[in-house]
C-alpha cells in the first residue's frame, strides 16, 4: 500500500505537470491522485495500527550502500498518519486557494510540486536506509523550496526562499556527516543494521548531538536555528505554509526520534541540551509572536514555541532513557509525539484560516481586519477553535499533550532530576500564559470588534471547498481534546517504538496516565455540557427580553473603528516588560506645536538571532574582507608586508 501511495502521488505529479497546458485537467488529475495516494497511505496506516501488519518493502538500488527499504513501525505509523491527514486536507483546501489566487492560478508548478512534497514526506517517514532517507529529505526540501517561491514576483518572497535554501542545505550537510559517522562505525547504512551493531553508549555522541541539532534542529526550528521559519512561512502560499508548519518542521522531530531509536541510549548531555533548547525556543517563540502583527509571521513564531514544547518532551524522554526510567522515557516521548500530531492539526487549521483571511483582506496585517466573525462566520469560528487549541486550554487537544509533558516533568522530579524538571515546568507555565495573551490579541484584532478597513467591511467566507477541510481539522482538535484515548494509544505505541520496546509493553507503564487522560477528556466534555446548560438557563431567565444598543463608550457617543484597541497596544504591557529580549524598533513621530497636524507611530519586531546577530555578523565579516581587499590592492608593499607577517605567524605557531 505504501508503494502504491508514493507511486500514485509521484505519477500524479508527473501527469499533472505534463498536462499543465490544460489547467482544468491538471487540477482534476492532481486532486484525484492526491486523494487516492493519501487514502492508500491511510490504508497502510490502518493495517499497521490495527493488526500490526508492518508492510516491509526491500529492494536493491544501484547506489553504494543504498537499499530501497521501507517499513512501518509504531513511530513511522504515527508520523505517516499525521502527514497524510494534514496533506490531504491542506491539498483539498489548496486547490480552491490556487483557483482564487491571481498569481498562483497561472503557476504551472504549484500542483505537481505539492504532490511531490507529499510523496517525499511519505517516503521520508518510512525510509529505513540512510541514503533513501536523505534522498527523500532532499526531495522534500527542494519541493518545499520551490513552493515557498511560488509567488516569486515579490522581492521578500525571493529573500525568504534564499534564506530557506541556505538553511535547509546547511541541515542536509550536517545530516550527511551524521550518517557518514554512523555508517562508518556500523559498516551499513540501514537504520536497523546500524542499530543492531550500535554499542549501548556511542562514543562520539556529543558530536552526534551537535550534528543532529544543526541537521534536525534547523528543520524543526529549534532556537537558535529557527531563523528561516518566520521568513519562509509568510512567503509561502497558505496551504503550503500549513503543510510546512504542520509537517515539514515535524520531520526534524521525527529525525531526532529515529536517531534516538538508532542509538538506543543517549547520554545525559542530550537531555540537558534538549530541555534547555526547548525552554528557550518555547518562551522565545511565544514572546516574539506577541510582538508580531503579520498574521503568518506570528503563526510561524508560534511554531517555534510549539517545537519548544515538543523538544521539552524529547529532552525529558532522553532523560528517562539515560537514567533507565521507562515511565519517564515513555511519558516524555509520548508527550512530544502527541504534541506533534496536535500541533500539526491546529497549526495547519490556523494557517488555512490565515489564507482565507489573506485572500479576503489582501494583506496579512492583523490590524487591517476586525469584525470578521460577523462577515466570515465559518472561517472565523473554525479559527477560534484553532486559537483556543494552540493556547493549550481544555477542552481542546493542545492541552492533552501539554499535560503529558507536565506529567513527564513531574515524573522527572521524582526521579531525582529536579533542576531540569523545574526548568521544564516553569517554561511550560510561562508559555501557557503568554500563548493565551497572544491568541486573544490576534483573534481579537482580526475577528472581533468593528472592521478597520474597507476591505474588511466586504470580506466574505470562501466556499465550502475551503471551509470543509478546516472544519475537519477543527473537529479532530475537539475530538482529541474530549476523547484522547485513541490518539494517546497510538502515541504510546510510537513512544514504545522509540524506546525499543514491543508496542504493548508501554501500556502497563502508562496505564494510570491513560486513565487520567480519559478523565481530562471527560472534564473537557463536562465544561461543554455545563456551558450548554447555563446557556439554556440564561435563555429561560431572559425569556426574550433582549434589547440591542450601541457599545457603551463611557459617555462618548460616536466611537469609530479607529478608536478600537489595536493588537500592538493589546500586547504592549507584555512587550514592554520583555523589551530587552525582543528587539522592537519603534518609530514615533510625535505631534508638535500648538496646532499639531500629523503624528505617526509604527513598530517592527526584529528576530533576535537573524536580524540582530547573524546579519550584523555577516555584514561585519564582509566589511572586514572588503577592507582587506582594498588594502591588498593599494600598494605592493602592503601585500609584501602581509605575506611577511603571515610567514612570521606560521613560524611562531610552529615554534
Amino acid at each position: 500500500m505504501l508503494i502504491a501511495s508514493i507511486s500514485i502521488l509521484l505519477a500524479g505529479a508527473l501527469v499533472s505537470a505534463s498536462a499543465a497546458r490544460r489547467p482544468k485537467m491538471a487540477a482534476a488529475i492532481s486532486m484525484l491522485s492526491l486523494i487516492m495516494g493519501c487514502l492508500s497511505g491511510l490504508a497502510a496506516v490502518v493495517g499497521s495500527a490495527a493488526w500490526g501488519g508492518s508492510s516491509k518493502i526491500a529492494a536493491g538500488w544501484p547506489l553504494p550502500w543504498a537499499r530501497l527499504s521501507m517499513s512501518l513501525d509504531g513511530l513511522s505509523t504515527f508520523f505517516l498518519l499525521t502527514v497524510l491527514i494534514v496533506s490531504l486536507l491542506s491539498g483539498i483546501y489548496g486547490e480552491a486557494y490556487i483557483r482564487r489566487s491571481e498569481g498562483l492560478s497561472k503557476s504551472k508548478s504549484a500542483r505537481p510540486l505539492f504532490l511531490t512534497l507529499t510523496a517525499s514526506l511519505v517516503a521520508v517517514v518510512c525510509a529505513q536506509n540512510a541514503i533513501l532517507f536523505l534522498f527523500a529529505w532532499e526531495l522534500m526540501a527542494l519541493a518545499s523550496f520551490f513552493l515557498v517561491i511560488a509567488e516569486d514576483e515579490h522581492p521578500e518572497v525571493r529573500r525568504a526562499g534564499y534564506l530557506y535554501f541556505i538553511c535547509t542545505h546547511t541541515a542536509t550537510l550536517a545530516l550527511l556527516i551524521l550518517f557518514a559517522i554512523l555508517g562508518r562505525a556500523a559498516g551499513t547504512l540501514d537504520f536497523g543494521g546500524i542499530r543492531s551493531v550500535m554499542p549501548p553508549s556511542a562514543g562520539s555522541s556529543t558530536l552526534l548531538l551537535l550534528l543532529a541539532l544543526i541537521g534536525f534542529g534547523m528543520k524543526a526550528g529549534i532556537t537558535p536555528f529557527h531563523i528561516w521559519l518566520q521568513e519562509a512561512h509568510p512567503a509561502a502560499p497558505s496551504h503550503v505554509s500549513a503543510v510546512m508548519s504542520g509537517i515539514v518542521i515535524k520531520i526534524g522531530i521525527y529525525g531526532f526520534l529515529r536517531l534516538i531509536w538508532i542509538l538506543r541510549s543517549v547520554p545525559d548531555i542530550w537531555a540537558v541540551v534538549l530541555v534547555l533548547a526547548g525552554a528557550v525556543s518555547g518562551v522565545g517563540g511565544v514572546l516574539s509572536a506577541l510582538a508580531q502583527h503579520d498574521l503568518k509571521r506570528l503563526l510561524a513564531y508560534h511554531s517555534v514555541e510549539n517545537i519548544g514544547i515538543i523538544t521539552l518532551g524529547l529532552g525529558l524522554g532522553c532523560l528517562g532513557l539515560s537514567h533507565h526510567k521507562p515511565e519517564l522515557a515513555l511519558l516524555g516521548f509520548a508527550g512530544a509525539i502527541l504534541h506533534t500530531l496536535n500541533h500539526a492539526l491546529f497549526k495547519s487549521l490556523l494557517f488555512l484560516g490565515s489564507g482565507s483571511f489573506y485572500q479576503a483582506l489582501g494583506t496579512r496585517e492583523i490590524e487591517a481586519g476586525g469584525g470578521l466573525l460577523k462577515l466570515m462566520p465559518w472561517t472565523s469560528a473554525l479559527s477560534l477553535i484553532g486559537a483556543a487549541a494552540i493556547s493549550g486550554i481544555p477542552p481542546f487537544n493542545g492541552f492533552v499533550s501539554e499535560w503529558l509533558v507536565y506529567m513527564a516533568s513531574s515524573s522527572a522530579m521524582r526521579a531525582g532530576e529536579a533542576r531540569l524538571a523545574a526548568v521544564s515546568i516553569g517554561g511550560l507555565a510561562l508559555i501557557g500564559g503568554l500563548a493565551v495573551a497572544c491568541f486573544t490579541k490576534a483573534y481579537g484584532a482580526l475577528c472581533l470588534g468593528i472592521p478597520r478597513t474597507e476591505a474588511a467591511k466586504i470580506a466574505k467566507d470562501p466556499g465550502p471547498a475551503m471551509t470543509v477541510p478546516m472544519a475537519a481539522l477543527a473537529a479532530l482538535c475537539v475530538f482529541i481534546g474530549c476523547w484522547p484515548g485513541p490518539a494517546l494509544s497510538l502515541a504510546q505505541q510510537a513512544a514504545a517504538a522509540v524506546c525499543g520496546m514491543p508496542p504493548d509493553a508501554a501500556r502497563p507503564a502508562l496505564a494510570g496516565f491513560l486513565n487520567d487522560a480519559r478523565l481530562i477528556g471527560l472534564a473537557g466534555a463536562g465544561v461543554i455540557v455545563i456551558g450548554a446548560l447555563l446557556a439554556f438557563a440564561r435563555s429561560l431567565l431572559l425569556g426574550g427580553r433582549v434589547t440591542m444598543g450601541p457599545t457603551w463608550a463611557c459617555g462618548f457617543t460616536a466611537p469609530t473603528a479607529r478608536m478600537q484597541y489595536t493588537a500592538s497596544s493589546y500586547s504592549q504591557p507584555l512587550t514592554r516588560a520583555f523589551a530587552p529580549v525582543l528587539g522592537i524598533r519603534a518609530r514615533f513621530h510625535a505631534p508638535a506645536g500648538y496646532w499639531p497636524t500629523e503624528s505617526r507611530f509604527s513598530s517592527h519586531a526584529d528576530d533576535l538571532v537573524l536580524d540582530r546577530l547573524l546579519i550584523p555578523a555577516g555584514s561585519a565579516t564582509a566589511g572586514l574582507l572588503a577592507w582587506l581587499k582594498r588594502r591588498q590592492r593599494s600598494r605592493l608593499q602592503y601585500s609584501m608586508l602581509a605575506v611577511a607577517l603571515f610567514l612570521l605567524a606560521l613560524l611562531a605557531w610552529k615554534l
Partner: protein, 299 residues
C-alpha cells in the same frame, strides 16, 4: 448517603461561599473605615436581582460575547470539582492541578475574547491588562503547585493541599503560601493589583472587561469571579489550617474562608493599589518566591 452528603455540601459551598466571602470583605473594609457597610449577603441579593433582569447586547457583538459569561462560569464550576471543598474533592487524579490551572485559563480566554467582541477601547484595555498580568501569575501558580506536588508525591490538588511536612517544610510552605496569596489577589482583581470599587474605567482591569454585560450574564460573571476567589482561598486554607474536629471538614473550611475574607479586607484597607507598571514586578516577585520554595523543597 456519603456521596449525597458530599454533593449537597459541595452545592451549598458553590452557591453561598462566593457572595458571603465578597460580603465579608466589604464588611471588614467598612468596619476598618468606621462605617456600617452593606449587609454581608448583599452580593447574593445583587446576583438574584440581576438574574431577574433582561439583557442589552451591543449591535457590534456576536455569539462570542454571549459565550463568554457562560463558558467562564462553566470552566470555574468544572475546576471546582478538583478542589477538596467538602473534605474531599468530587474528582481527583494525578495531574488534576494542571487541569485546574488551565481551566482558569479557559475562563480568562473567553472573558477576554468577549470583551474584545464589543469593539470598545476600554474593554480592550482591560483585556490587555488582564492577559498580561495573568500570564505572569500562571508561572507563579504552577511553580508553587510543583513544590507542593513534589512534597506530596502527586500533582493532585487533594493530596497537595493538606497540612503535612512538619517544621522542616515550614519555610517552603510559607514561600508557596506567599506566592499563592499574591496570585489570588492578582487573579481575583483585588488591591494591590486592581481595585474592585474603582469608578474610573481607565484604571480598571477586570471590571472594565465586563462593562457591556448586564442581567443574567453579569450575574454569571460576578458569581464566577467570586467562585474563583473562593476556590483559591480554600486551597490556601487547606494548606495552612488543619481540620478542626469539632467543626468537621466542611465547617473548618467555612471558618477558614471567612478568616481569609477578613484578611483580604484588612489588606485592602491598609494599602493603596500599585501603579499599573509596578504590578508585573509584584508578580515576578511571586514567581521568585515560588521558585525559592521549589528549590527549598528539592534540596
Amino acid at each position: 448517603m456519603e456521596t449525597l452528603k458530599l454533593v449537597a455540601s459541595y452545592l451549598l459551598i458553590l452557591v453561598f461561599a462566593p457572595p458571603v466571602m465578597l460580603g465579608l470583605i466589604t464588611k471588614t473594609k467598612a468596619a476598618v473605615a468606621g462605617r456600617k457597610g452593606p449587609p454581608v449577603l448583599q452580593p447574593l441579593y445583587d446576583t438574584l436581582k440581576l438574574l431577574g433582569k433582561g439583557a442589552v447586547y451591543s449591535t457590534t457583538t456576536t455569539w462570542m460575547f454571549r459565550l463568554g459569561p457562560v463558558a467562564a462560569l462553566a470552566a470555574v464550576l468544572a475546576a471546582s470539582s478538583f478542589v477538596p471543598l467538602a473534605g474531599e474533592p468530587l474528582i481527583s487524579f494525578n495531574g488534576d492541578a494542571i487541569l485546574f490551572a488551565y481551566l482558569l485559563a479557559l475562563g480568562r480566554f473567553v472573558t477576554a475574547t468577549a470583551a474584545l467582541d464589543t469593539g470598545s477601547s476600554f474593554e480592550g484595555m482591560g483585556a490587555s491588562r488582564e492577559a498580561a498580568f495573568s500570564s505572569l501569575a500562571e508561572p507563579a501558580l504552577i511553580l508553587a503547585f510543583a513544590s507542593l506536588a513534589y512534597r506530596s508525591g502527586a500533582l493532585s490538588l487533594a493530596r497537595m493541599f493538606s497540612p503535612h511536612g512538619g517544621p522542616q517544610a515550614a519555610a517552603s510552605t510559607v514561600l508557596a503560601l506567599g506566592s499563592l496569596f499574591v496570585v489570588l489577589l492578582a487573579e481575583n482583581s483585588r488591591i494591590p493589583v486592581d481595585d474592585p470599587n474603582t469608578h474610573l474605567e481607565l484604571t480598571m482591569i477586570h471590571e472594565v472587561m465586563v462593562l457591556d454585560h448586564g442581567g443574567p450574564d453579569l450575574a454569571f460573571i460576578l458569581h464566577g469571579a467570586g467562585l474563583r476567589l473562593a476556590l483559591m482561598a480554600s486551597l490556601l486554607v487547606r494548606l495552612v489550617l488543619p481540620d478542626w474536629p469539632a467543626a468537621g471538614p466542611v465547617g473548618s473550611l467555612v471558618l477558614g474562608l471567612a478568616a481569609t475574607a477578613v484578611v483580604i479586607g484588612l489588606v485592602e484597607s491598609s494599602m493603596a493599589r500599585l501603579r499599573l507598571i509596578r504590578v508585573p514586578q509584584l508578580l515576578v516577585a511571586a514567581i521568585c518566591a515560588a521558585t525559592f520554595g521549589l528549590i527549598l523543597t528539592l534540596r
